[in-house]
Assembly symmetry: C2
Homo-oligomer: 406 residues x 2
């Protein structure tokens, strides 16, 4: 029987949509991965009474509740008070925590602001959880049946505290229960329906949690299985039926997989982008250590820039800026100019403007130049808004490269 | 008295954090802007009983409830059933809706799959809401006191349906109540504490909702005021105290503001990026119509590419790749090469590797070349992880350009 978990986010800015609640997604992912069944996310306003009420309501249904946000120093941060009110205990002041904060400010040559004194208070029945990455103190409250964990809402602090101080608490309390194994398979160049078709009906004859998540140009499968036997059988089936499309058995993005392969093979890459406008280069350089294989890129947005890169004006006149010939030439030229092993060229119409009946919005040509000095080009028609066309095109370019080097 | 609204998202994939709930943020923002008080977000699993229970619980507290997700054709989509169960009504089949779906499939030369028949059912007491952007039918249920709106969870469909078919329903039911005025001010190059300091204590002597939202390199203020008098006084105060930092009085991003200015002045732009790896170019080209002013960019990741761009090897030897001189030269070279009015050059250390005591991770030089053929460079030290340093550097580059052209 899985332990159940719930997430309670505190903050008017979340209710009003001024911030996207990535914290809830992070906790949902981590807790599910650990083997919790996440049964509820809730968001409530910065109100002591609202926090007290929602926490009580959720604790009736969940074993572990994670309260996020409202732990700052300003008067509208009342999570401490709301949680204490639920347990009907006072807040207590922690000298050591306050001295820790004083040291922290001293290190930056500052005196501790009076407001920050609030950060040293926590509910009497709680254990403080030290935050190495900020001033907001977290805390955990354990009863015979339940667990309440309060964490700051700043995503970077929440994440690092989760791995630092929360995981040990969870392992200690739920260690025996958290049995389930997590399987991840990331695929490129296949649609969600096709993944389901390939897996087939018999795939689902066994007891496991199955999730399938499409994103522009890729699909991710996540599976939770209690039994080791089921886990390995399921993994064998997935490998057998989808191997040719799977680029990672973990959460590594395709750009990261390509980075690993190119480094291993001591090959380099350069890209020339038109309609993706730098998105492909930024996907590649988002991975640290890209300098080991990524020579650079050109955003050849204007025809003039394409010519400078070495695309003959005649080629553009004869076939148009958006053509297989120009895509291939962009790949060849950037490879040569930047002296790389591989070159990618992208040209297309991201929209909303610039489309025609012959060359509609979403039409994208992707060229790939290989170490042998040759180039190929592929034609694609992507649907969606501008940012979707750009995202699908960048992802498809990575897919073509991956197919060529894997 | 503001009408209250609540958001109920349906889906295990949300609970498990496999998708970030951007829909809740979108609705929170739109509903707040319209003048609703958003009192709750909740997420529940794909279970008819869970939907029925949560909907009933939320309807006791909110005037309008927006149920998202679980309207797809597969058997695990049970929002229709859950909502109907709460109102204790059967589902009814809509011939016109089914014919609409048949036409839709026909247009793509397909026969309608049997599963999709489910998409033509909705609760007997509901009005269907047509989805021009997908097959999932939405619906609205109006009682004397309450309003329930069900929308598909696909973000693109949700957004377009909100403006298409939901807004009219809200205006009709709540028109008189939705009085509050929304004020937005976006600022670059100023920190959250400095904005608060400049606004001063007296600023908050009037009755209005105030929100301040920092993002890498910028701060956004959002204010809701019931009274027109308060609204204009507040706006005057903000203008007087922060004018020099405000780049937009609406949600337009800085890249969009720069696009407007450059188009108006008939000037063009080219960028040469190192540590931001294409992020700056992609921010600029994310705005449609960028081709009117954006010549292109170079991602000069490798020293070799910097040289090719026209940065003398000696300059790199004397001052290092990460230096004010190289940043300025990158700006000059790319401006010249791409024949643009302005050129931006960025060189720095995004980390996590590559830092030293003299040149630590986060050190970034930004160069700006102007139509007079001159260039300046600024030195910055950005904190945070790799993606944060990249985001702050790209934003700061836009800020320098904006200061020069506004």
């Amino acid at each position: 029987m899985k332990p159940t978990a719930a997430v309670l986010s505190v903050g008017n800015e979340v209710l009003r949509g001024s911030v996207v609640n990535t914290n809830a997604a992070f906790l949902g992912r981590e807790l599910t991965g650990l083997g919790f069944e996440v049964i509820s996310h809730a968001v409530c306003p910065d109100s002591q009474e609202a926090i007290r009420f929602r926490l009580g309501e959720i604790l009736r249904r969940a074993d572990a509740v994670f309260v996020m946000g409202g732990l700052g120093p300003t008067p509208d941060d009342v999570t401490r008070e709301g949680v204490a009110a639920h347990f009907n205990v006072p807040l207590v002041f922690s000298e050591p925590q306050y001295r820790r904060l004083q040291k922290l400010y001293k290190r930056f040559g500052k005196r501790i602001p009076p407001l920050v004194k609030r950060e040293a208070f926590y509910p009497e029945n709680a254990k403080p959880l030290i935050n190495r990455f900020g001033i907001a103190l977290g805390f955990s409250i354990e009863t015979s049946q339940k667990l309440v964990i309060a964490l700051p809402g700043v995503p970077a602090e929440l994440k690092s505290m989760f791995f630092d101080v929360v995981l040990p608490v969870l392992r200690k309390k739920y260690g025996k229960l958290l049995g389930s194994r997590k399987l991840v398979a990331r695929m490129a160049g296949i649609s969600e329906p096709d993944v389901m078709k390939r897996l087939g009906k018999d795939f689902f004859d066994e007891p496991f949690d199955f999730g399938i998540y499409p994103a522009p140009g890729e699909v991710t499968i996540r599976i939770l299985a209690e039994s080791a036997a089921v886990f390995s059988r399921v993994k064998r089936k997935i490998a057998a039926r989808l191997k040719d499309r799977i680029y990672a058995w973990d959460e590594t993005p395709l750009a990261g997989v390509i980075a690993q392969i190119l480094k291993k093979k001591k090959k380099t890459l350069a890209v020339a982008e038109s309609c993706t406008g730098g998105l492909l280069a930024s996907k590649i350089t988002a991975e640290s250590g890209a300098s080991a294989f990524f020579r650079g890129g050109t955003v050849a947005y204007h025809a003039l820039v394409k010519k400078k890169l070495g695309v003959p004006g005649k080629l553009i006149q004869d076939h148009g800026e958006v053509s297989a010939q120009v895509a291939a030439q962009l790949a060849l030229s950037v490879r040569e100019k930047m002296e790389s092993s591989y070159g990618i060229g992208i040209t297309g119409i991201a929209g909303p403007g610039g489309g025609s009946s012959r060359k509609p919005v979403g039409l994208v040509y992707i060229g790939l130049a290989t170490p042998d000095g040759k180039a190929r080009a592929w034609k694609h028609l992507f649907w969606g808004e501008r940012h979707q066309v750009q995202a699908r095109a960048a992802m498809k370019a990575l897919e073509h490269l991956w197919m060529a080097i894997r």
